[in-house]
Symmetry: C2
Subunit: 259 residues, 2 copies
């Protein structure tokens, strides 16, 4: 049965998409069958993986709307890696905030569409969320086992965290009691900046055991790989970013095994 | 009469808040009376300016809901600079997406609350928008004269731009014909990266005259100033970031004069 992990932070530009893509690939490299779900209407993840979201006959939007009775499995697409698949985004998701909210069961559209057969096909399902705490992110949290919170070691990174934690607590109490925070992932860390050292200490003292040992360092190769529509592994496996996401994948697998 | 400028990009973490705060201060330094409006429920701008958003008796949320007949002027707060004021954010704005959408006039709540008297009090009104194209951003665009689009010279920066441009065209045609793009502002530019040179060329060839001559370079002092709840001008006026935002302020003033 697949473990479902939401990659969430309403703060923009903290590395949610970069983490979903590279962690997903690193898990696949470790032999884990991995499914990525792109719930962000910006479609960054889908575009990087090489999918043309406008060319889909049916999409995750149709599945969530549940008008055609489409199973989620019908919108899964293959990627370059034989152990990593993707459910691409759709531009109609940008209207989802407004459209889905009117429905009584608006927070459980995704959990109702993730069948047991999908869960059997994979070991991990990673969901890339948009930079907001709206209906799409809530759908992801409502169906997830775990949350990973990417966070830059900068002051704006810490400001919004209370809002995210209170949304998490609300969903855990009212909709999804099994949901737990797997950890805060420090991203784009630059060892030369004293600001980053200070903020990392603040994050560690605030979250204590809930911070991944792995820190993702700032690494230009990650950006270059993205402009080549690749993960850092495909672009240059010796790069700093590849080592960091490899380490993270092992830490995630270890965490799940111990549970 | 104040010129209203929306600082918009649904891509997260591109420097919207950093630009609103530092450009606002630079305009005030040039002698322009400036009002900042924080329309982002994350409240990053309000927190940096030193406002406790939870301590407000009435907020922009009450004004937009229009239940109490409160004028926008009643929620203006002073800042450290005598020529720069702010209308802080409110945590209730995070529910605004759902609550305001149901109202027929949901896109013009802000324009109906910006009275002529507010417009007479200022030369510039800058609106910091959240990382989405939802009802809050649409309200800002519906009442603005100009748009500034901060953009990182990275591939994810370019992916979502078509969605933003189509939203702009729709609002210009149906709600606000005076709306124009003042320019794309390249932010966090790192001269050492060939990727940034390449992407800057792509942005220039895509947007032609609609790109500011001023490029905001990546500058650690900007981040350090934020962790001190200051603009870069207050923290270290000689820094690279201060020079860049000063230049931008002059370019904005020049643009408005020529219109
Ligand atoms: N470790 C890293 N080192 C250097 N650059 C990075 C790193 N991680 C991410 N980036 C860059 O930072 C930018 C933001 O990353 P990304 O788009 O993954 O964040 P996000 O949280 O998904 O953004 P959004 O909130 O818009 O969805 C991208 O341009 C990406 O290339
Ligand atoms: N020129 C710059 N040089 C270095 N760092 C910068 C620069 N501009 C912004 N930053 C940093 O980048 C991060 C993102 O900036 P900011 O929060 O202003 O973006 P935003 O677009 O407002 O994000 P959001 O989409 O979450 O509202 C912040 O941590 C900020 O300190
Ligand atoms: Mg993303
Ligand atoms: Mg912001």
């Amino acid at each position: 049965m697949a473990k479902i992990i939401s990659i969430v932070n309403q703060k923009g530009g903290v590395g949610k998409t970069t983490t979903t893509h590279n962690l997903g690939y690193a898990l696949a490299e470790e032999g884990e069958r991995t499914l990525l779900i792109d719930l962000d209407p910006q479609m960054n993840l889908s575009t990087t993986v090489g999918i043309d979201c406008y060319a889909q006959k049916n999409s995750i939007y149709d599945v969530l709307r549940d008008k055609k009775g489409l199973p989620l499995g019908s919108v899964v697409k293959k990627t370059e890696h034989d152990k990593m698949d993707i459910i691409p985004s759709a531009f109609e998701l940008s209207g989802a905030e407004i459209e889905f909210t009117k429905r009584i069961s608006s927070s459980s559209l995704l959990s109702r569409s993730i069948s047991n057969s999908i869960r059997e096909d994979y070991d991990y399902i990673l969901v890339d969320c948009p930079p907001s705490l709206g209906v799409l992110t809530i759908n992801s949290l409502s169906t997830s086992d775990y949350i990973i919170i990417p966070m830059q070691p900068e002051v704006y990174g810490l400001y919004g965290i209370d809002m995210l934690l209170s949304t998490y607590e609300e969903i855990q109490e009212e909709i999804n009691p099994k949901l737990e925070i797997m950890g805060v992932l420090i991203t784009m860390h630059d060892g030369r900046l004293s600001l980053h050292k200070e903020m990392t200490e603040k994050i560690n003292s605030y979250f204590k055991d809930n911070v991944f040992k792995t820190i993702i360092k700032t690494n230009t190769t990650l950006k270059e790989a993205q402009s080549n529509n690749q993960t850092v592994f495909e672009y240059d496996g010796r790069a700093r970013g590849a080592k960091d996401y490899e380490k993270l994948a092992r830490e995630v697998i270890e965490y799940v095994k111990e549970r």
